[in-house]
Subunit: 236 residues, 2 copies
DNA sequence: CGAAGTTAAATTGTATACAAAATTGCAGCC
DNA sequence: GGCTGCAATTTTGTATACAATTTAACTTCG
Protein backbone atom coordinates (compact mmCIF):
# COMPACT_ATOMS: atom_id res chain seq x y z
CA UNK A 1 0.00 0.00 0.00
CA UNK A 2 1.33 3.43 -0.90
CA UNK A 3 -0.05 6.61 0.46
CA UNK A 4 -0.39 9.56 -1.86
CA UNK A 5 2.30 12.16 -1.33
CA UNK A 6 0.60 15.40 -0.46
CA UNK A 7 2.16 18.82 -0.45
CA UNK A 8 -0.96 20.90 -0.74
CA UNK A 9 -1.57 24.57 -0.34
CA UNK A 10 -1.44 26.03 3.09
CA UNK A 11 -4.67 25.47 4.99
CA UNK A 12 -5.68 22.29 3.20
CA UNK A 13 -3.23 19.87 4.78
CA UNK A 14 -5.45 18.63 7.61
CA UNK A 15 -8.31 18.04 5.21
CA UNK A 16 -6.13 16.03 2.86
CA UNK A 17 -4.74 13.93 5.69
CA UNK A 18 -8.26 13.40 6.97
CA UNK A 19 -9.73 12.19 3.72
CA UNK A 20 -6.71 10.07 2.91
CA UNK A 21 -6.88 8.26 6.22
CA UNK A 22 -10.65 7.97 6.16
CA UNK A 23 -10.53 6.38 2.75
CA UNK A 24 -7.91 3.91 3.94
CA UNK A 25 -10.03 2.99 6.94
CA UNK A 26 -13.30 2.77 5.03
CA UNK A 27 -11.78 0.57 2.38
CA UNK A 28 -10.20 -1.63 5.00
CA UNK A 29 -6.59 -1.02 4.05
CA UNK A 30 -6.11 0.27 7.54
CA UNK A 31 -7.59 -2.72 9.32
CA UNK A 32 -9.82 -2.55 12.39
CA UNK A 33 -7.67 -2.64 15.50
CA UNK A 34 -4.58 -1.31 13.73
CA UNK A 35 -2.50 1.10 15.74
CA UNK A 36 -2.22 4.66 14.54
CA UNK A 37 1.10 6.45 14.98
CA UNK A 38 1.26 10.16 14.30
CA UNK A 39 4.87 10.12 13.24
CA UNK A 40 4.39 7.38 10.67
CA UNK A 41 1.50 9.15 9.00
CA UNK A 42 3.29 12.47 9.05
CA UNK A 43 6.37 10.91 7.49
CA UNK A 44 4.45 9.06 4.81
CA UNK A 45 2.43 12.10 3.80
CA UNK A 46 5.41 14.45 4.05
CA UNK A 47 3.67 16.68 6.52
CA UNK A 48 4.42 17.64 10.08
CA UNK A 49 2.58 16.18 13.04
CA UNK A 50 0.44 19.27 13.49
CA UNK A 51 -1.99 18.75 10.58
CA UNK A 52 -1.96 15.02 11.31
CA UNK A 53 -3.14 15.69 14.84
CA UNK A 54 -6.02 17.74 13.52
CA UNK A 55 -7.09 15.00 11.16
CA UNK A 56 -6.77 12.28 13.81
CA UNK A 57 -8.84 14.24 16.25
CA UNK A 58 -11.63 14.60 13.75
CA UNK A 59 -11.45 10.93 12.83
CA UNK A 60 -11.66 10.06 16.47
CA UNK A 61 -14.64 12.26 17.11
CA UNK A 62 -16.46 10.75 14.19
CA UNK A 63 -15.75 7.24 15.43
CA UNK A 64 -13.21 5.94 12.94
CA UNK A 65 -10.53 5.90 15.60
CA UNK A 66 -10.82 5.08 19.29
CA UNK A 67 -8.59 6.83 21.72
CA UNK A 68 -9.38 7.55 25.41
CA UNK A 69 -6.48 9.85 26.38
CA UNK A 70 -7.35 9.90 30.09
CA UNK A 71 -7.69 6.16 30.49
CA UNK A 72 -4.50 4.17 30.65
CA UNK A 73 -3.94 1.23 28.41
CA UNK A 74 -5.54 2.89 25.42
CA UNK A 75 -3.64 4.37 22.52
CA UNK A 76 -5.21 5.38 19.25
CA UNK A 77 -6.26 2.57 16.95
CA UNK A 78 -8.72 1.98 14.15
CA UNK A 79 -12.18 1.33 15.58
CA UNK A 80 -13.29 -2.31 15.43
CA UNK A 81 -16.30 -3.50 13.48
CA UNK A 82 -18.78 -5.19 15.77
CA UNK A 83 -22.31 -6.41 15.39
CA UNK A 84 -23.71 -4.17 18.10
CA UNK A 85 -22.00 -1.12 16.70
CA UNK A 86 -23.31 -1.85 13.22
CA UNK A 87 -26.87 -2.08 14.47
CA UNK A 88 -26.63 1.12 16.46
CA UNK A 89 -24.92 2.94 13.62
CA UNK A 90 -27.51 1.87 11.07
CA UNK A 91 -30.29 3.01 13.38
CA UNK A 92 -28.70 6.42 13.62
CA UNK A 93 -28.27 6.72 9.89
CA UNK A 94 -31.92 5.72 9.56
CA UNK A 95 -32.96 8.54 11.85
CA UNK A 96 -30.87 11.13 10.05
CA UNK A 97 -32.02 10.12 6.60
CA UNK A 98 -35.54 9.62 7.90
CA UNK A 99 -35.62 13.21 9.01
CA UNK A 100 -34.35 14.30 5.60
CA UNK A 101 -37.05 12.22 3.91
CA UNK A 102 -39.65 13.86 6.09
CA UNK A 103 -38.51 17.26 4.88
CA UNK A 104 -38.36 15.99 1.32
CA UNK A 105 -42.02 15.02 1.50
CA UNK A 106 -42.95 18.60 2.33
CA UNK A 107 -40.97 20.21 -0.48
CA UNK A 108 -42.74 22.29 -3.09
CA UNK A 109 -44.56 20.17 -5.64
CA UNK A 110 -42.26 21.00 -8.52
CA UNK A 111 -39.08 20.17 -6.68
CA UNK A 112 -40.67 17.05 -5.33
CA UNK A 113 -41.67 15.83 -8.77
CA UNK A 114 -38.12 16.19 -10.01
CA UNK A 115 -36.84 14.41 -6.93
CA UNK A 116 -39.26 11.52 -7.34
CA UNK A 117 -38.30 11.12 -10.99
CA UNK A 118 -34.63 10.91 -10.08
CA UNK A 119 -35.25 8.46 -7.27
CA UNK A 120 -37.26 6.19 -9.55
CA UNK A 121 -34.49 6.28 -12.15
CA UNK A 122 -31.77 5.45 -9.64
CA UNK A 123 -33.79 2.64 -8.14
CA UNK A 124 -34.51 1.23 -11.57
CA UNK A 125 -30.82 1.16 -12.33
CA UNK A 126 -30.22 -0.50 -9.01
CA UNK A 127 -32.75 -3.19 -9.80
CA UNK A 128 -31.26 -3.79 -13.22
CA UNK A 129 -27.75 -4.00 -11.77
CA UNK A 130 -28.86 -6.46 -9.10
CA UNK A 131 -30.52 -8.75 -11.64
CA UNK A 132 -27.31 -9.44 -13.54
CA UNK A 133 -25.66 -12.77 -12.92
CA UNK A 134 -22.47 -11.37 -11.44
CA UNK A 135 -23.41 -8.05 -9.86
CA UNK A 136 -20.67 -5.45 -9.52
CA UNK A 137 -20.47 -4.75 -5.84
CA UNK A 138 -19.05 -1.27 -6.23
CA UNK A 139 -21.88 -0.35 -8.59
CA UNK A 140 -24.55 -1.68 -6.27
CA UNK A 141 -23.08 0.24 -3.40
CA UNK A 142 -22.78 3.44 -5.40
CA UNK A 143 -26.37 3.29 -6.61
CA UNK A 144 -27.76 2.69 -3.13
CA UNK A 145 -25.62 5.54 -1.89
CA UNK A 146 -26.86 7.79 -4.69
CA UNK A 147 -30.47 7.01 -3.92
CA UNK A 148 -30.21 8.08 -0.33
CA UNK A 149 -28.00 11.06 -0.97
CA UNK A 150 -30.40 12.40 -3.55
CA UNK A 151 -33.17 13.16 -1.09
CA UNK A 152 -30.82 14.15 1.71
CA UNK A 153 -29.18 16.78 -0.46
CA UNK A 154 -32.56 17.94 -1.67
CA UNK A 155 -34.13 18.50 1.71
CA UNK A 156 -31.66 18.50 4.61
CA UNK A 157 -30.53 21.71 6.24
CA UNK A 158 -26.86 22.48 6.81
CA UNK A 159 -26.76 20.94 10.25
CA UNK A 160 -28.43 17.71 9.24
CA UNK A 161 -26.23 17.42 6.19
CA UNK A 162 -23.11 17.90 8.30
CA UNK A 163 -24.30 15.15 10.60
CA UNK A 164 -25.03 12.94 7.64
CA UNK A 165 -21.59 13.54 6.15
CA UNK A 166 -20.00 12.65 9.46
CA UNK A 167 -22.00 9.52 10.19
CA UNK A 168 -22.92 7.94 6.89
CA UNK A 169 -19.42 7.06 5.64
CA UNK A 170 -18.96 4.91 8.69
CA UNK A 171 -21.75 2.65 7.54
CA UNK A 172 -19.72 2.23 4.39
CA UNK A 173 -17.13 0.37 6.43
CA UNK A 174 -19.68 -2.33 7.16
CA UNK A 175 -21.31 -2.26 3.78
CA UNK A 176 -18.03 -2.71 1.95
CA UNK A 177 -16.89 -5.47 4.24
CA UNK A 178 -20.00 -7.55 3.93
CA UNK A 179 -21.43 -6.42 0.61
CA UNK A 180 -20.44 -9.61 -1.12
CA UNK A 181 -22.68 -11.53 1.22
CA UNK A 182 -25.43 -8.92 1.19
CA UNK A 183 -25.94 -8.45 -2.51
CA UNK A 184 -28.15 -11.53 -2.70
CA UNK A 185 -30.72 -10.02 -0.36
CA UNK A 186 -31.02 -6.77 -2.24
CA UNK A 187 -34.54 -7.37 -3.52
CA UNK A 188 -36.32 -6.31 -0.30
CA UNK A 189 -34.20 -3.16 -0.18
CA UNK A 190 -35.35 -2.20 -3.68
CA UNK A 191 -38.93 -2.76 -2.58
CA UNK A 192 -38.34 -0.51 0.42
CA UNK A 193 -36.93 2.20 -1.81
CA UNK A 194 -40.21 2.16 -3.69
CA UNK A 195 -42.10 2.78 -0.48
CA UNK A 196 -39.88 5.74 0.29
CA UNK A 197 -40.32 7.21 -3.17
CA UNK A 198 -44.08 6.71 -3.02
CA UNK A 199 -44.42 8.44 0.33
CA UNK A 200 -42.40 11.42 -0.88
CA UNK A 201 -44.48 11.60 -4.04
CA UNK A 202 -47.71 11.71 -2.05
CA UNK A 203 -46.30 14.28 0.34
CA UNK A 204 -46.82 12.02 3.33
CA UNK A 205 -44.07 13.14 5.70
CA UNK A 206 -44.74 10.57 8.41
CA UNK A 207 -44.84 7.71 5.94
CA UNK A 208 -41.63 8.83 4.24
CA UNK A 209 -39.81 9.03 7.51
CA UNK A 210 -41.10 5.66 8.63
CA UNK A 211 -40.21 4.04 5.31
CA UNK A 212 -36.61 5.20 5.54
CA UNK A 213 -36.28 4.08 9.13
CA UNK A 214 -37.73 0.70 8.24
CA UNK A 215 -35.30 0.38 5.34
CA UNK A 216 -32.34 0.92 7.64
CA UNK A 217 -33.67 -1.20 10.44
CA UNK A 218 -34.08 -4.07 8.03
CA UNK A 219 -30.64 -3.46 6.59
CA UNK A 220 -29.25 -3.59 10.12
CA UNK A 221 -31.00 -6.89 10.73
CA UNK A 222 -29.69 -8.36 7.48
CA UNK A 223 -26.18 -7.17 8.23
CA UNK A 224 -26.38 -8.44 11.80
CA UNK A 225 -27.19 -11.91 10.55
CA UNK A 226 -24.22 -11.84 8.20
CA UNK A 227 -21.85 -10.69 10.93
CA UNK A 228 -23.09 -13.45 13.19
CA UNK A 229 -22.07 -16.02 10.61
CA UNK A 230 -18.71 -14.64 9.46
CA UNK A 231 -17.59 -13.00 12.69
CA UNK A 232 -16.53 -9.53 13.78
CA UNK A 233 -13.36 -7.75 12.77
CA UNK A 234 -10.88 -6.06 15.03
CA UNK A 235 -12.53 -6.79 18.33
CA UNK A 236 -11.09 -9.39 20.65
CA UNK B 1 -16.10 37.73 33.45
CA UNK B 2 -13.07 35.85 34.63
CA UNK B 3 -11.90 32.61 33.14
CA UNK B 4 -10.75 29.90 35.48
CA UNK B 5 -7.00 29.53 35.49
CA UNK B 6 -6.23 25.99 34.51
CA UNK B 7 -2.95 24.22 34.96
CA UNK B 8 -4.22 20.67 34.86
CA UNK B 9 -2.45 17.39 34.57
CA UNK B 10 -0.89 16.51 31.27
CA UNK B 11 -3.43 15.16 28.83
CA UNK B 12 -6.42 16.98 30.24
CA UNK B 13 -5.68 20.46 28.96
CA UNK B 14 -7.69 20.29 25.73
CA UNK B 15 -10.70 18.90 27.58
CA UNK B 16 -10.57 21.69 30.14
CA UNK B 17 -10.27 24.35 27.47
CA UNK B 18 -13.12 22.74 25.59
CA UNK B 19 -15.55 22.64 28.46
CA UNK B 20 -14.59 26.10 29.66
CA UNK B 21 -15.25 27.63 26.27
CA UNK B 22 -18.38 25.59 25.68
CA UNK B 23 -19.82 26.74 28.96
CA UNK B 24 -19.05 30.35 28.10
CA UNK B 25 -20.75 29.99 24.74
CA UNK B 26 -23.76 28.10 26.05
CA UNK B 27 -24.34 30.63 28.80
CA UNK B 28 -23.97 33.48 26.36
CA UNK B 29 -20.94 35.10 27.95
CA UNK B 30 -19.19 34.57 24.65
CA UNK B 31 -21.84 36.18 22.50
CA UNK B 32 -22.95 34.87 19.11
CA UNK B 33 -20.80 36.42 16.41
CA UNK B 34 -17.87 37.10 18.75
CA UNK B 35 -14.47 36.53 17.25
CA UNK B 36 -12.32 33.78 18.67
CA UNK B 37 -8.58 34.37 18.92
CA UNK B 38 -6.35 31.45 19.81
CA UNK B 39 -3.72 33.56 21.49
CA UNK B 40 -6.19 35.33 23.75
CA UNK B 41 -7.68 32.11 25.00
CA UNK B 42 -4.28 30.52 25.45
CA UNK B 43 -3.08 33.51 27.43
CA UNK B 44 -6.17 33.69 29.63
CA UNK B 45 -6.09 30.00 30.44
CA UNK B 46 -2.32 29.94 30.86
CA UNK B 47 -1.88 27.26 28.23
CA UNK B 48 -0.13 27.14 24.88
CA UNK B 49 -1.95 27.37 21.59
CA UNK B 50 -1.71 23.65 20.96
CA UNK B 51 -4.40 22.43 23.38
CA UNK B 52 -6.48 25.46 22.47
CA UNK B 53 -6.42 24.45 18.84
CA UNK B 54 -7.67 21.00 19.74
CA UNK B 55 -10.53 22.40 21.74
CA UNK B 56 -11.47 24.92 19.05
CA UNK B 57 -11.50 22.26 16.39
CA UNK B 58 -13.89 20.15 18.41
CA UNK B 59 -16.11 23.13 19.14
CA UNK B 60 -16.19 23.91 15.46
CA UNK B 61 -17.07 20.40 14.47
CA UNK B 62 -19.91 20.36 16.95
CA UNK B 63 -21.23 23.65 15.66
CA UNK B 64 -20.46 26.07 18.47
CA UNK B 65 -17.92 27.87 16.30
CA UNK B 66 -18.01 28.57 12.58
CA UNK B 67 -14.80 28.67 10.69
CA UNK B 68 -14.33 27.99 6.92
CA UNK B 69 -10.52 28.00 6.57
CA UNK B 70 -10.54 27.80 2.77
CA UNK B 71 -13.00 30.60 2.21
CA UNK B 72 -11.70 34.12 2.51
CA UNK B 73 -13.38 36.59 4.77
CA UNK B 74 -14.18 33.99 7.39
CA UNK B 75 -12.24 33.63 10.61
CA UNK B 76 -13.45 31.67 13.59
CA UNK B 77 -16.33 33.17 15.52
CA UNK B 78 -19.08 32.01 17.83
CA UNK B 79 -21.94 30.54 15.80
CA UNK B 80 -25.01 32.76 15.56
CA UNK B 81 -28.41 31.80 16.90
CA UNK B 82 -31.00 31.81 14.16
CA UNK B 83 -34.56 30.66 13.89
CA UNK B 84 -33.87 28.18 11.10
CA UNK B 85 -30.94 26.67 12.92
CA UNK B 86 -32.99 26.29 16.09
CA UNK B 87 -35.71 24.42 14.26
CA UNK B 88 -33.27 22.11 12.52
CA UNK B 89 -31.33 21.51 15.70
CA UNK B 90 -34.42 20.69 17.72
CA UNK B 91 -35.54 18.24 15.06
CA UNK B 92 -32.21 16.47 15.26
CA UNK B 93 -32.32 16.28 19.03
CA UNK B 94 -35.83 14.88 18.71
CA UNK B 95 -34.59 12.13 16.41
CA UNK B 96 -31.71 11.20 18.68
CA UNK B 97 -33.79 11.14 21.82
CA UNK B 98 -36.62 9.51 19.93
CA UNK B 99 -34.35 6.64 19.03
CA UNK B 100 -33.29 6.34 22.66
CA UNK B 101 -36.92 6.30 23.77
CA UNK B 102 -37.63 3.55 21.27
CA UNK B 103 -34.89 1.44 22.84
CA UNK B 104 -36.14 2.34 26.29
CA UNK B 105 -39.56 0.95 25.45
CA UNK B 106 -38.01 -2.42 24.68
CA UNK B 107 -35.97 -2.68 27.87
CA UNK B 108 -36.56 -5.56 30.27
CA UNK B 109 -39.70 -5.08 32.34
CA UNK B 110 -37.87 -4.53 35.61
CA UNK B 111 -35.55 -1.86 34.29
CA UNK B 112 -38.46 -0.24 32.51
CA UNK B 113 -40.54 -0.04 35.67
CA UNK B 114 -37.75 1.69 37.52
CA UNK B 115 -37.28 4.05 34.60
CA UNK B 116 -40.96 4.92 34.44
CA UNK B 117 -41.07 5.59 38.16
CA UNK B 118 -38.17 8.00 37.87
CA UNK B 119 -39.65 9.75 34.85
CA UNK B 120 -42.94 10.24 36.63
CA UNK B 121 -41.16 11.68 39.65
CA UNK B 122 -39.10 14.11 37.60
CA UNK B 123 -42.10 15.25 35.63
CA UNK B 124 -44.11 15.73 38.81
CA UNK B 125 -41.37 17.96 40.17
CA UNK B 126 -41.34 19.84 36.91
CA UNK B 127 -45.05 20.43 37.10
CA UNK B 128 -44.82 21.62 40.69
CA UNK B 129 -41.95 23.95 39.82
CA UNK B 130 -43.83 25.40 36.89
CA UNK B 131 -46.94 26.11 38.97
CA UNK B 132 -45.15 28.48 41.35
CA UNK B 133 -45.74 32.16 40.85
CA UNK B 134 -42.13 33.02 39.99
CA UNK B 135 -40.64 29.90 38.46
CA UNK B 136 -36.89 29.47 38.74
CA UNK B 137 -35.68 29.23 35.17
CA UNK B 138 -32.56 27.26 36.01
CA UNK B 139 -34.63 24.72 37.90
CA UNK B 140 -37.14 24.32 35.09
CA UNK B 141 -34.34 23.82 32.61
CA UNK B 142 -32.54 21.32 34.82
CA UNK B 143 -35.65 19.23 35.40
CA UNK B 144 -36.53 19.08 31.71
CA UNK B 145 -32.93 18.13 31.00
CA UNK B 146 -33.03 15.44 33.69
CA UNK B 147 -36.19 13.97 32.27
CA UNK B 148 -34.75 13.44 28.83
CA UNK B 149 -31.34 12.36 30.01
CA UNK B 150 -32.85 9.70 32.22
CA UNK B 151 -34.17 7.56 29.39
CA UNK B 152 -31.26 8.35 27.08
CA UNK B 153 -28.76 7.10 29.63
CA UNK B 154 -30.92 4.09 30.31
CA UNK B 155 -31.25 2.89 26.75
CA UNK B 156 -28.82 4.53 24.32
CA UNK B 157 -25.74 2.72 23.08
CA UNK B 158 -22.31 4.33 23.16
CA UNK B 159 -22.59 5.83 19.70
CA UNK B 160 -25.99 7.36 20.25
CA UNK B 161 -24.94 8.73 23.61
CA UNK B 162 -21.85 10.34 22.07
CA UNK B 163 -24.05 11.95 19.46
CA UNK B 164 -26.44 13.12 22.14
CA UNK B 165 -23.63 14.61 24.21
CA UNK B 166 -22.35 16.47 21.17
CA UNK B 167 -25.68 17.81 19.94
CA UNK B 168 -27.90 18.34 22.95
CA UNK B 169 -25.87 21.05 24.70
CA UNK B 170 -26.29 23.23 21.65
CA UNK B 171 -30.01 23.27 22.19
CA UNK B 172 -29.20 24.66 25.61
CA UNK B 173 -27.94 27.83 23.92
CA UNK B 174 -31.42 28.49 22.63
CA UNK B 175 -33.24 27.29 25.69
CA UNK B 176 -31.24 29.50 28.01
CA UNK B 177 -31.61 32.51 25.79
CA UNK B 178 -35.33 32.30 25.45
CA UNK B 179 -36.36 30.37 28.57
CA UNK B 180 -37.76 33.42 30.25
CA UNK B 181 -40.28 33.72 27.46
CA UNK B 182 -40.89 30.00 27.19
CA UNK B 183 -41.61 29.12 30.77
CA UNK B 184 -45.22 30.23 30.43
CA UNK B 185 -45.97 27.63 27.78
CA UNK B 186 -44.57 24.76 29.77
CA UNK B 187 -47.91 23.05 30.38
CA UNK B 188 -48.11 21.31 26.99
CA UNK B 189 -44.57 20.06 27.39
CA UNK B 190 -45.46 18.42 30.70
CA UNK B 191 -48.44 16.79 29.00
CA UNK B 192 -46.13 15.51 26.26
CA UNK B 193 -43.78 14.07 28.85
CA UNK B 194 -46.69 12.05 30.16
CA UNK B 195 -47.26 10.57 26.70
CA UNK B 196 -43.62 9.59 26.49
CA UNK B 197 -43.67 7.96 29.89
CA UNK B 198 -46.89 6.11 29.09
CA UNK B 199 -45.55 4.70 25.85
CA UNK B 200 -42.40 3.46 27.53
CA UNK B 201 -44.45 1.90 30.31
CA UNK B 202 -46.59 0.00 27.81
CA UNK B 203 -43.55 -1.10 25.84
CA UNK B 204 -44.80 0.59 22.69
CA UNK B 205 -41.59 1.46 20.86
CA UNK B 206 -43.18 3.29 17.95
CA UNK B 207 -45.39 5.37 20.21
CA UNK B 208 -42.49 6.27 22.47
CA UNK B 209 -40.39 7.41 19.56
CA UNK B 210 -43.24 9.39 18.06
CA UNK B 211 -44.06 11.02 21.38
CA UNK B 212 -40.51 12.26 21.84
CA UNK B 213 -40.30 13.55 18.29
CA UNK B 214 -43.60 15.35 18.74
CA UNK B 215 -42.38 16.89 21.98
CA UNK B 216 -39.35 18.36 20.24
CA UNK B 217 -41.20 19.41 17.14
CA UNK B 218 -43.64 21.34 19.28
CA UNK B 219 -40.80 22.81 21.30
CA UNK B 220 -39.21 23.96 18.06
CA UNK B 221 -42.45 25.58 16.97
CA UNK B 222 -42.86 27.35 20.31
CA UNK B 223 -39.26 28.55 20.22
CA UNK B 224 -39.57 29.65 16.62
CA UNK B 225 -42.50 31.84 17.50
CA UNK B 226 -40.52 33.44 20.32
CA UNK B 227 -37.52 34.10 18.11
CA UNK B 228 -39.75 35.70 15.52
CA UNK B 229 -40.94 38.22 18.10
CA UNK B 230 -37.67 39.06 19.85
CA UNK B 231 -35.25 38.61 16.94
CA UNK B 232 -32.18 36.53 16.27
CA UNK B 233 -28.81 36.93 17.89
CA UNK B 234 -25.46 37.20 16.20
CA UNK B 235 -26.63 37.03 12.62
CA UNK B 236 -26.56 40.08 10.44
C1' DC C 1 -12.32 65.51 2.41
C1' DG C 2 -12.51 60.92 0.45
C1' DA C 3 -10.41 56.99 -1.80
C1' DA C 4 -6.85 53.98 -3.06
C1' DG C 5 -2.48 52.04 -2.45
C1' DT C 6 1.04 50.65 0.57
C1' DT C 7 2.97 49.30 4.75
C1' DA C 8 2.63 47.54 9.46
C1' DA C 9 0.33 44.59 12.82
C1' DA C 10 -2.19 40.71 14.03
C1' DT C 11 -3.53 36.00 13.48
C1' DT C 12 -3.54 31.61 11.91
C1' DG C 13 -1.03 27.43 9.60
C1' DT C 14 2.94 24.66 9.96
C1' DA C 15 7.04 22.70 11.70
C1' DT C 16 9.97 21.36 15.31
C1' DA C 17 12.09 21.01 19.88
C1' DC C 18 11.42 19.36 24.36
C1' DA C 19 9.19 16.86 28.24
C1' DA C 20 6.41 13.35 30.25
C1' DA C 21 4.40 9.01 29.97
C1' DA C 22 3.97 4.40 28.55
C1' DT C 23 5.19 0.28 26.29
C1' DT C 24 8.59 -3.01 25.22
C1' DG C 25 12.54 -5.75 25.82
C1' DC C 26 15.91 -7.60 28.73
C1' DA C 27 18.17 -9.18 32.64
C1' DG C 28 18.26 -11.11 37.03
C1' DC C 29 16.03 -13.70 40.43
C1' DC C 30 12.84 -17.02 42.43
C1' DG D 1 10.96 -21.77 32.92
C1' DG D 2 8.32 -17.96 34.34
C1' DC D 3 7.87 -13.68 36.73
C1' DT D 4 9.27 -9.17 38.40
C1' DG D 5 11.67 -4.97 38.09
C1' DC D 6 14.51 -1.84 35.59
C1' DA D 7 16.08 0.55 31.56
C1' DA D 8 15.77 2.02 26.87
C1' DT D 9 12.90 3.25 23.21
C1' DT D 10 8.80 4.75 21.35
C1' DT D 11 5.01 7.83 21.29
C1' DT D 12 2.18 11.30 22.57
C1' DG D 13 1.37 16.09 25.00
C1' DT D 14 2.90 20.70 25.15
C1' DA D 15 5.26 24.78 24.01
C1' DT D 16 7.35 27.78 20.88
C1' DA D 17 9.54 29.54 16.69
C1' DC D 18 8.74 30.68 12.02
C1' DA D 19 6.16 31.59 7.67
C1' DA D 20 2.32 33.08 5.11
C1' DT D 21 -1.80 35.46 4.83
C1' DT D 22 -5.12 38.35 6.15
C1' DT D 23 -6.76 42.67 8.54
C1' DA D 24 -5.94 47.31 9.84
C1' DA D 25 -4.13 51.66 9.68
C1' DC D 26 -1.88 55.31 7.67
C1' DT D 27 -0.34 58.13 4.14
C1' DT D 28 -0.67 60.27 -0.11
C1' DC D 29 -2.91 61.77 -4.11
C1' DG D 30 -7.01 63.25 -6.57
Amino acid sequence: MTLARVSPTRGARPAVVYSTLRELIVRGQLAPGARIVEMDIAARLRVSRTPVRGALQRLQQEGYIVHSPTLRQSRPSVAPLTRDDAIELFSIVGEIEGLAARSAATLAALLREKLVTDLLAINARLERASRTKTPKHDLLYDLDEQFHRRYVDAAAGPRLRALHDAVKPQAERYERLYVSLLSRGLAPSIREHESITGAIRHGDADAAQRAVQTNWRNAAARLGAVIDTVGERGSW
